[in-house]
Amino acid sequence: MDLLGLLTDYTLRNVLLGAALLGVVSGVLGTFAVLRGQGLLGDALAHAALPGICLAFLLTGSKAMPVLLLGAGVAAWLGALLLLWIVRQTRLAQDAALGIVLAVFFEFGLTLLTVANRRPDATQAGLDRYLFGQAATLVGENVIVMAVLAAIALLATAAVYKELKLLAFDPDFGSSLGFGVGPLSVALTTLITVAILIGLQTVGVVLMAAMLIGPAAAARQWTNRLSTMIALSAAFGAAAGVVGALISASASRIPTGPMIVLALTVIVVGSILFAPARGVLPEWWRTRRAAPETPA
């Protein structure tokens, strides 16, 4: 298929739009998550979404996207609540709590997935696609749902931009000004959950964390301004999404998630190695030039 054919192809257009939307939203929200040191929160919440997807299908018998997304959103939210509860009520550290939520919800999700796949009405294009993503299955209505979710998430983020910046940089000071850590954490967690919902069909639950962490980590290498970092992160996310989706769509039966993450890895590694001010290689070069001649 030639390039023009690719771009006018209906399926491919949906795939590209879906992947780009996901990249932008996860890039923007991932920036705040990464700066707050909460990159892995998204990982736990994404895995926690799986049992919600399966339960929604088992209860309604429907595979309609809004139904499954609702289930996913509720489950991810319950995961977030459980996480908060564990951190508050026990002496476990946050990373241990993240591990528990991720493992428990995901195991439960896999069990339900097996049950769901045994049902007579489970067709071949089953719920498995939510594990690693299968963007080729996106139809126009799915993309519209994703676009609406993306618009809501981006507008909400823009509205509380200054508050989220405070939360990421100095939550205690923000709290002393009256911007409570509690409400803002809930807002950020909710927005991250929305980003996960957008990514379910494209990259799937297993690799979603990479879409939240990768673009932001790469963007940080190139700039010292938060606004620029957010824009770059969105661009990196979208680029990885589009490239990965193209590779996945060009050969049948390649899941989209791994291809997108592969494209993202190239961006991240390149940024870590070559970014002028913070990159490993420029830094090595500067040190080498600054060092005095080694005596023989």
């Binding site: 200054k162 405070l166 940089f169 000071f173 000004l177 010292n224 938060l226 620029t228 970092m229």
Partner: protein, 246 residues
Amino acid sequence: MTPALEVRDLTVVYRDAPALDRATLAVPAGTLAAIVGPNGAGKSTLLKAVQDLVPRVNGEVRVFGVPYRQARLRVGYVPQRTAVDWDFPTDVLDVVLMGTYGRLGWLRRPGRAERETALSALELVGMRDLAHRQIGQLSGGQQQRVFLARALAQQAELYLMDEPFAGVDAATERAIVDVLRGLRAAGKTVVCVHHDLESVPDYFDWVALLNVRVIASGWVSEVFTPDRLAETYGGRLGLLTRIGMA
């Protein structure tokens, strides 16, 4: 006259051990006040508990006679410099602008007026030339001045400062003392967690000696005595001998 800060029976418990035990004190308005005590005495906890940043088991906090929540905008805060990640992608002016966020409230963005406020605050701490410097490139003393400027941009009446002199160079220390005296001259009240006992009589009018409990509080000339200090520091007199007070 109504005290600037009034704390009554403030108790904070971390895990099982009390960090603050029924702390009670009243800082007179228009003074420079120090809170001193050994490590783990609950000095930072006191400043945090006053501002609802840590949960308190018991106690009451009044600022200029009204509950803290109603007086939030009249309180400026300088947290410990080490409380934040200075590799955060932002510049000096942007951090100082955060001081204006409280008055702006939710959703409103800082504009030209807030920028002017922030630049004036930077002028006061001698950092205006560095307004656009990336914060990761600042020295410890400069970081401390940025935090001080951010609190000044709050345009508060009571300032709570957590170790503003910790790890700063001599020039920064003088600059900060000048700012504090300027605040007092303008009728503001400053409460500092402070480590250097030697400089207490020089810098401060009022002092609270804290070791989980408030051992004593009042004018420096009256309560900053060797026996009270010995009681606060658990009789570690070597320290007091060294500063020539025992």
